[in-house]
Amino acid sequence: TTPMDADSDVALDILITNVVCVFRTRCHLNLRKIALEGANVIYKRDVGKVLMKLRKPRITATIWSSGKIICTGATSEEEAKFGARRLARSLQKLGFQVIFTDFKVVNVLAVCNMPFEIRLPEFTKNNRPHASYEPELHPAVCYRIKSLRATLQIFSTGSITVTGPNVKAVATAVEQIYPFVFESR
């Protein structure tokens, strides 16, 4: 019997690739003005939003005229907040009365690599309700953890993609799935 020492030997490096967050500015934004005066914006008039890209924390923000802003592309939660604040500051400079409220990290995407391969059909059989595998549609097994609201995509090469509401949930999800995956390697 192989001991399930999930803590001792494993130093799995979980790489966060994307953090999505939202915040409000509590004021109406004139998209046209932003589009004209911002240096790095794309104005999508047909959908009614402005895309603004920042270089320093490399993020892309979608700005709506209602004042809601979605910020993607950050690689950590702090970076996301920093980028959001920078964005709000630049909007302030453009002349809008911006108030930085309702900041919330909505989604975190991370990648993780297992040092072994995984037998997907066996894995699905052992984890029936949570795992769903449809080889005709997607090569990975989709495993959902309801309690954490996290979704993991498990590939046969051992690499796992995790999405969850925050970084902690993502880490917990990986820890939870490790023993199951270890069984079916």
């Binding site: 240096a39 008039r45 604040r85 005709e136 090569p139």
Partner: protein, 690 residues
């Protein structure tokens, strides 16, 4: 019946007719129950003398045609719709299933799944076709039939991923675990399509063995089973001397050519491919392979490692080169006369690049001398380098150049390794900085240092750590703004033009007065069934609710209760038309409701004829409603009455029914008289049929 109270008038005199299965109030004539299910059995004598049981058949699916009228419109409508949905679903399932050649048991199971789905409201917001396909596919999976989701999507002409999404959702909601697809299931089907004749069985067996081998070699996880099948069948066919081209196979198996080739290549990589046909049939290799994507990943890793090793070697080489160069320079210094002192000092202090450029930039006599010396040294140098065995970078650089311009070699050698060293050190620095972002504040990462701002509850912007200057750069000045505006205009010209055209169109329509504003569709609210004490009230309320027509004389409506002859206004619909229309509205059972449009249009035309006979109306209503059961036996609802439509028709029918009475100001006529009157031609016949 004991103690039943009529909802309409409150009277207790209810007549129960078990033969027809009705409960009718004799006071106001409203039907309280229709199609009562009774437990007694009655017999009726036929014309031939035999007796037959009294009753009606109630279908299993339909849940009967409604027990209670009047108060239960909501329930009735809901149930009826549900029954219709199930019926419709059943029909579609059979239609699709027969195309797939599924047996009856599978179809029944699929129908059960569908019933479950409907009861869980999973059909809401989804095309019925998708849900049906998902149910069928679920059955296919649980039974293990060789049907692919692709087949279903072919039949329906729907994107296979959309179907897959619905299918996954269904499986999840119904908690049904569909067993994983085994490519072995598809082999007989494809083999049959590829027409191997007598050797069909043998080829299938070979292909099966191949597949099992592939499974062992980790080729099948995460891959479309049909692709694997295709590859296995192709190889099996070739093994048995059948010529099956890739094109034929992909037309049967429905994968792309590149996919098939890729599978074949992967199989080629496995050691099994080295066996001959006979060997393969007999021996089974013990070792297992890694999955192909894993090996590809490993290969990439190895490449990276190689590169790293090479770069390290470069560094070593560079070290050697620099040491050689130092040696050369010191030699040159010593051999140079003092006039070149300045230059020598320069070469001593400057970097290799400087020395190289200074070497170049010398005056001619010095140049020649130096060139001679350099070339002499270079040759040795070059040979030494080659002897050292590092041919990667210096060889490339030195090789083509070495023969032609010896001085250039040195200069190239100079910048090259140093450039390389620079590049490497840069990347190393980057790596360090990116790795140590959080723990170590690195000078590079200083700007990225994220002060974790305390939560500012009041919503103020925390400016710590934000570099204002940089943000200022984000804002364009006027000229730039203008240029950008023009660029944007040019790019989105199409969209802007469309907007302008649309506005122009709307303006024109407004002028012409036919401007139809397309409001976003609001979901139609279910209207409350009209509770009214008299039919007249019912009509009023109904007219209030529905769109007010300009053709109705409302003053007449006000005098509904009185017997004053309301003058009929409006559209002079002829009696024939009316009667004909009425006949239509009655007899038009095949079309049934057909969207209720013809009826409503008929109704609108006939509505102008609103006369003032409450009793007559009531009686008419009664006849209407009474006659409905007879028509109700047919599956399609007649226009009159009760259930099956969102709009409550009975009040509307009343004005309809009044139309035939052109006689204005007629006194209250008894029901019998009405029935006997010629206007009620068709009705009279029906009633007499009772």
């Amino acid at each position: 019946m004991t103690g039943r109270v009529c909802r309409g008038c409150g009277g207790t005199d209810i007549e129960l007719d078990t033969a027809r299965g009705d409960a009718v109030c004799t006071g106001c004539g409203s039907v309280l129950e229709d199609n009562i299910i009774v437990s007694e059995v009655q017999f009726v004598e036929n014309s031939g003398g035999g007796s037959s049981a009294v009753g009606q058949f109630v279908s299993l699916d339909g849940a009967g045609k409604t027990p209670a009228l009047g108060g239960g419109f909501h329930v009735n409508l809901g149930k009826e719709s549900r029954a219709q949905t199930l019926q419709n679903g059943r029909r579609q399932i059979h239609h699709l299933g027969s195309q797939l050649q599924l047996n009856q048991h599978c179809l029944d199971t699929a129908f059960n799944f569908f019933k479950m789905a409907v009861s869980k409201h999973l059909t809401r917001g989804r095309r019925m076709a998708h849900v049906i396909a998902a149910c069928l596919y679920l059955v296919c999976r649980t039974e293990g039939t060789p049907h692919m989701l692709l087949d279903l999507s072919d039949l329906l002409q729907v994107n296979v991923y959309v179907l897959g999404k619905t299918f996954l959702l269904l499986a999840r909601e119904l908690c049904i675990n569909a067993p994983a697809i085994d490519p072995c299931l598809y082999i007989p089907r494809f083999a049959h399509l590829l027409e191997f004749g007598e050797k069909n069985h043998e080829v299938s067996m070979t292909a099966l063995r191949l597949l099992q081998r592939m499974k062992r070699d980790w080729m099948h996880t995460g891959r479309r089973p049909s692709g694997l099948c295709g590859a296995a069948l192709l190889v099996a066919a070739r093994m048995h001397d059948f010529r099956r081209t890739v094109k034929e196979v992909i037309s049967v198996v429905k994968v792309c050519e590149s996919t098939l080739r890729k599978r074949l290549t992967e199989f080629e990589d496995t050691p099994t491919s080295q066996l001959t046909v006979d060997e393969f049939m007999k021996i089974d290799l013990e070792g297992e392979c890694d999955p192909p994507s894993y090996t590809a990943g490993q290969r990439k890793l190895r490449m990276k490692q190689l590169e790293q090793v090479l770069s390290k070697k470069l560094e070593d080489v560079e070290g050697e080169i620099s040491s050689y160069q130092d040696a050369i320079e010191s030699e040159l210094e010593n051999s140079r006369p003092k006039a070149k002192g300045t230059l020598a000092s320069l070469t001593r202090d400057g970097s290799v690049e400087d020395s190289a450029s200074s070497l170049f930039g010398e005056e001619d006599p010095e140049d020649e001398e130096l060139q001679a010396a350099a070339s002499h040294l270079n040759k040795d140098f070059y040979r030494e380098l080659l002897g050292a065995g590092v041919s990667s970078s210096s060889g490339e650089a030195g090789g083509p150049e070495g023969g032609s311009r010896p001085p250039a070699l040195e200069s190239l050698l100079g910048p090259l390794p140093t450039a390389a060293s620079l590049g490497i050190s840069d990347s190393i620095r980057e790596c360090i900085s990116s790795q140590s972002q959080e723990p170590k504040p690195d000078p590079n990462a200083a700007a990225l240092c994220f002060p974790v701002a305390g939560a500012r509850g009041d919503g103020e912007l925390d400016l710590s750590g934000i570099d204002d200057l940089e943000i200022d750069r984000y804002i364009l000045n006027e000229a730039e703004a203008r240029v950008k505006a023009e660029l944007w205009m040019r790019e989105n010209a199409e969209y802007l033009r469309e907007q302008r055209e649309k506005e122009a169109r709307i303006a024109k329509e407004k002028e012409l007065g036919i401007y139809k504003e397309h409001k976003p569709k609001k979901s139609c609210k279910r209207r409350e069934p009209i509770q009214a004490s008299t039919a007249g009230e019912a009509i009023e309320k109904m007219l209030e609710q529905k769109k007010i027509s300009s053709k109705i004389n409302y003053s007449v409506l006000q005098d509904l209760n009185s017997k004053g002859g309301g003058s009929l206004r409006g559209g002079g619909a002829q009696p024939q038309e009316r009667a004909g229309a009425r006949k239509l509205s009655r007899r038009k059972t095949p079309a049934g409701r057909s969207g209720a449009d013809p009826v409503s249009s008929v109704g609108k035309r006939l509505r102008p004829m609103v006369s003032a006979q409450p009793a007559k109306r009531a009686a008419v209503g009664e006849t209407l409603l009474l006659s409905s059961p007879s028509l109700g036996a047919e599956p399609v609802r007649p226009t009159a009455v009760v259930e099956s439509g969102p709009v409550s028709y009975p009040p509307e029918e009343d004005p309809d029914e009044e139309d035939p009475d052109e006689e204005d100001g007629e006194p209250c006529v008894s029901a019998l008289q009405m029935m006997g009157s010629s206007d009620y031609g068709c009705d009279g016949e029906e009633d007499e049929g009772y």
